[in-house]
């Protein structure tokens, strides 16, 4: 087997936590027989990161030197096409991140590779690769295989617990002691369709810092009516809570962007997180699941938020809000 190629994402000279998780998953696939683990580091100054990655129990860290300091989708796509041509990996592993969304499906479609995104479980056996992901808005799980595909591009959901699962069953033959080789690959970039990076812009700074709050009262689509927001703001203030919200209320312009909890907003971990009328999309859960105590009130008993909440109530949020008002007056 030609192994697993991990696409690293870096924060400065360090691999991101999602990349460490991917490397642990790749090592688990190696133990299951998928072959060697290689990690691709694409960028202008990635040598320090390559040294760090080579010490993580991988067989090879590959430096793909490109002349730009930041992510560009077409550059990463060209780099991965060259890496696949060179190593013919059985599996290409990348995070289901906003960067990967810009190139991975194009890579798979052009190369006629296997493909699965937002994957929550992955394993290797003599029958090849098997993956699981959500279906029908996370109501079901689809179990996938990839018949006839020599290379499969897989995007994994961050925080799906791959790292923890990969640690169990580690053997001495999988020791971290020997550092992997560091190699280089040059990529031809001319003649590719291009986008031109202009600049990065920091998120707007609001009056409220929801990441510092011990108690967050967070509201979502279940509110349904902008006119109900003042009473919830008043409730938050009575409870000594900071008001935050899920994406639909920011999209609708009802709540400022600085108060958005989730992947594209802020990541929070208060002592108590109260979710009113938030169903719990994956992107929202990514931003709040580390809260110490999560209390969810939702009228839909199937809402995914109940899967991460410590306490839940199936009820009309305004009925509960009115009673909470009484409790804190």
């Amino acid at each position: 087997m030609n192994g697993v190629l991990v696409v690293a994402e870096l924060a400065g000279a360090e691999p991101r936590p999602t990349t460490i998780e991917l490397i642990e998953l790749a090592r688990a696939l190696r133990r299951q027989g998928a072959g060697p683990v290689r990690v691709a580091l694409i960028g202008r100054d990635v040598d320090d990161a390559a040294t760090a990655v080579a010490a993580l129990g991988v067989d090879e860290a590959i430096v793909v030197g490109v002349p730009i300091p930041h992510f560009e989708a077409h550059v990463w796509q060209a780099a991965l096409e060259a890496l696949i041509a060179e190593h013919a990996p059985a599996v290409v592993l990348a995070a289901h991140s906003v960067d990967s969304l810009g190139f991975a499906a194009a890579l798979a479609a052009r190369g006629r590779h296997g493909f699965a995104s937002d994957v929550t479980a992955l394993s290797w056996s003599v029958g090849g690769l098997a993956a699981s992901r959500g279906a029908y808005g996370e109501r079901l799980v689809a179990e996938l295989d990839f018949p006839g595909k020599d290379t499969v591009v897989v995007l994994t959901r961050a925080g799906a617990g791959f790292g923890a699962a990969a640690e169990t069953g580690a053997t001495s033959s999988d020791a971290l002691a020997a550092a992997g080789a560091i190699t280089r690959l040059d990529v031809e970039l001319s003649g590719r369709e291009r986008t031109e990076h202009v600049e990065l812009r920091e998120p707007p700074r609001g009056d409220v810092d929801i990441t510092q709050a011990e108690l967050l009262l967070s509201i979502g689509r279940g509110i349904e009516d902008a006119e109900r927001i003042p009473e919830l703001r008043e409730l938050a203030s009575r409870m000594g809570a900071t008001l935050s919200a899920s994406r639909p209320l920011i999209d609708a312009g009802w709540i400022p962007p600085a108060q958005q909890v989730g992947q594209s907003g802020r990541t929070v971990a208060p002592k108590v997180y109260i979710a009113l009328g938030i169903s719990g999309a994956v992107q929202h859960l990514a931003g709040m699941s580390k809260s110490k105590t999560i209390i969810a009130v939702n009228s839909d008993p199937r809402a995914p938020i109940f899967g991460v909440a410590h306490y839940g109530a199936v009820a009309d949020l305004f009925d509960v809000a009115a009673e909470l008002e009484r409790q804190f007056s």
């Binding site: 991975a104 499906a105 079901l140 179990e143």
Partner: protein, 260 residues
């Protein structure tokens, strides 16, 4: 300016559906609606065409007859015409198969711009649009939350994690995947809804776009072996009782935990 707008009629499971171990869901267990993201890509397409004083917005979908309702909704809001491509062999098609069909439509229509939603709310692959860009060689940007057009160049804002934004320039022809919240989608008037049926809506077979089922299905990225119910963790401790009783429990949890 011609904008091609791939849309999807998404499926929602009936509340009481329980999987039986098969790889598909019986059609009577599904309700259909236009994908949430596609309302935003449609609005973006209409605004762009209006801003350049002319052009055409062509909505296209790969779907069975349930998908016509979604196309009619696009026509009612202002799309000029619509195309539905279908073959029964496409039942359960994944994002790469749909992209292969759409690529043939792009080749035939030659749009200056293709606007897709970032993802569909049912499958949530977030892959069809960018796979289409890969197959057609169009320059592309994923997860766009602002679009401005000057001449033949788009300046777009790409959404990053944590509220950060990357500003990029991309020359036409191009493909963008559009994020929710980029604009405020318009509503269709009753009159426009009635008139939508008078607008052109072409129903095409695979052969009409120069494809055959075997070739297209070979593009699939994966095979669904089985659909099953998710494993439930320990789950939440449920607070039962009246709203007053629930609120009392919440208040006591809050007081205890925040004080600790």
């Amino acid at each position: 300016m011609k904008v091609l707008l791939p849309v999807k009629q998404v499926a929602r499971l009936e509340d009481d559906f329980a999987p039986d171990g098969g790889a598909t869901v019986p059609v009577e267990e599904l309700e259909w609606q236009l994908n949430e993201w596609d309302a935003f890509s449609l609005e973006a397409a209409l605004e762009l065409v209006e801003s350049v004083d002319g052009g055409e917005v062509v909505a296209v979908t790969v779907g069975d007859e349930h998908a016509e309702e979604g196309l009619l909704a696009c026509l009612a809001k202002g799309a000029d015409r619509a195309i539905r491509v279908w073959d029964d062999a496409l039942e359960g098609a994944d994002a790469l198969v749909v992209a292969a069909v759409l690529a043939a439509v792009v080749d035939a229509e030659r749009p200056e711009l293709v606007l897709c939603g970032v993802q569909s709310s049912d499958a949530a692959n977030a892959a069809t649009g960018i796979a289409l860009a890969g197959l057609t060689g169009l320059a592309h940007v994923a997860v766009v939350k602002e679009i401005a057009l000057a001449g033949e160049t788009l300046t777009v804002h790409r959404e990053l994690d944590g509220g950060e934004v990357e500003v990029l320039r991309v020359a036409l022809p191009a493909l963008l995947t559009v994020q929710t919240g980029i604009n405020e989608p318009r509503y269709a008037t009753l009159r426009a809804i009635k008139q939508a049926r008078a607008k052109p809506l072409d129903t095409l077979a695979l052969a009409d776009v120069g494809l055959d089922a075997d070739t297209v299905l070979a593009a699939a990225g994966a095979r669904v072996v089985r659909l099953r119910a998710p494993e439930r963790g320990e789950g939440a401790t449920m607070l039962d009782g009246s709203p007053a009783e629930i609120a009392e429990r919440i208040a006591s949890i809050v007081r205890e935990e925040v004080a600790s």
